[in-house]
Amino acid sequence: MSFFSEALWVLLLGSLLGLELIGKVPPTLHTPLMSGANAISGITMLAALTLIIKSGDNLPLLIIGSISLGFALFNVIGGFLVTDRMLAMFSRKKTRK
């Protein structure tokens, strides 16, 4: 029970932090911010990792965990790369092609 009571506090404070993090966002950054936040939400890859590690020799569970990890990493790596590509268009140092 101690984990769950702590976890509920963590949930509450994390939500409040998220509510406060973003104030004014310039409209050009709406899509990159959405994409970046989306990449972060791929953090479920940790859950998938935990599932695989704890599943031992249970083959169906290993497969489910592996597919889940694949989906999550698709989200994370794709998300960060795409965000980086979008943001690269903002940089002033490089000349545009």
């Binding site: 791929g42 889940s68 989906f71």
Partner: protein
């Protein structure tokens, strides 16, 4: 092995700090690119922390390593290829696709835990109930995120048009029907942890389709942002399922920040979230002009 737990703890704290700074920095043009990299580093740190801790405490079997590497390589390569190849004009679609996959991942984790419960009953009755409830939330939100995001992507790509029945009142009945079915499945599952599993998944997938299909193309970015917020919630629920504080913080942060971003985007388009979600594609212009 006693020194591993504190290291894991420190890594987790650092990762949360970097993620928060990342989200914060992404909302300013000057710092956005560095912030994105910072968040990427935080994710790597977090994954490293989990692997280190498990290796140190319970050990990771060769079998697990093989499946971890398989999943990582396939998912990572596909993600990198997709991100490099996609044209800049298709960005909202691709974000929707990635987002849907994140939701799917949370769903699969919850499905795995529900199908093969490994709990030893040490959590007590209340703990068991919370665990089942978080499985329900993870399944429900994950399925809505996945099906909704895929529909959003298909509509933006022009693969799906808006069927006329979705513009009538019938869609509200359809959606309410699906929601009730999902609720029934959820109640069953939270009581005994087995029944109603697939009822939730199917009903909430249909609900995701039913909610997203009527929405017009111009409103899609707002919907994708909302679905992004949902996938954060699904991640937080998955954190409850596997018992990871880091996951709960990150999921809650993304969920809340996504909600604020959705609101900001709505304001930018001079529309209310309600009219985006329930106005429909064809009736939306009258709602917007009436509201504005």
């Amino acid at each position: 092995m006693t020194f591993i737990a504190p290291i894991k703890f420190a890594i987790d704290l650092l990762a949360v700090l970097l993620l928060a700074l990342g989200i914060k920095g992404l909302s300013k043009v000057r710092s956005a690119r560095e912030a994105n990299r910072l968040a990427g580093i935080a994710m790597m740190l977090a994954a490293f922390g989990v692997l280190l801790n498990s290796q140190g405490t319970i050990g990771i079997s060769i079998n697990s390593w093989i499946w971890i590497i398989c999943g990582t390589l396939i998912g990572g390569l596909l993600g990198a290829l997709t991100a490099k190849r996609v044209p800049m004009t298709a960005m909202p679609e691709i974000v929707a696709l990635f987002n849907g996959c994140g939701g799917m991942s949370s769903l699969l984790v919850a499905l795995g835990v529900a199908l093969f419960p490994s709990s030893d009953g040490s959590d007590g009755v209340v703990g068991e109930l919370i665990r089942n409830f978080s499985i329900v939330v993870s399944l429900f939100v994950g399925a809505i995120t996945f099906s909704g995001s895929i529909v959003a992507m298909a509509k933006l790509q022009g693969w799906l048009s808006t069927p006329s029945w979705t513009q009538s009142k019938a869609r509200h009945f359809f959606n309410i029907f699906c929601a009730v079915l999902a609720l029934i499945g959820g109640i069953y599952l939270s009581i005994d942890g087995q029944n109603g599993l697939f009822l939730i998944v199917i009903a909430s997938s249909l609900l995701g389709i039913g909610v997203t299909l009527p929405i017009g193309g111009a409103d899609m970015p707002v919907v994708i942002s909302l679905l992004n917020s949902y996938s954060g919630v699904a991640a937080a629920a998955a954190g409850f399922v596997v018992g990871s504080q880091l996951l709960i913080v990150a999921g809650a942060m993304v969920g809340a920040a996504g909600l604020i971003l959705t609101q900001v985007m709505c304001d930018g388009m001079n529309r209310s979230l309600v009219s985006v979600l329930f106005g429909g594609a064809l009736g939306s212009s009258s709602v917007a002009s009436g509201g504005g």
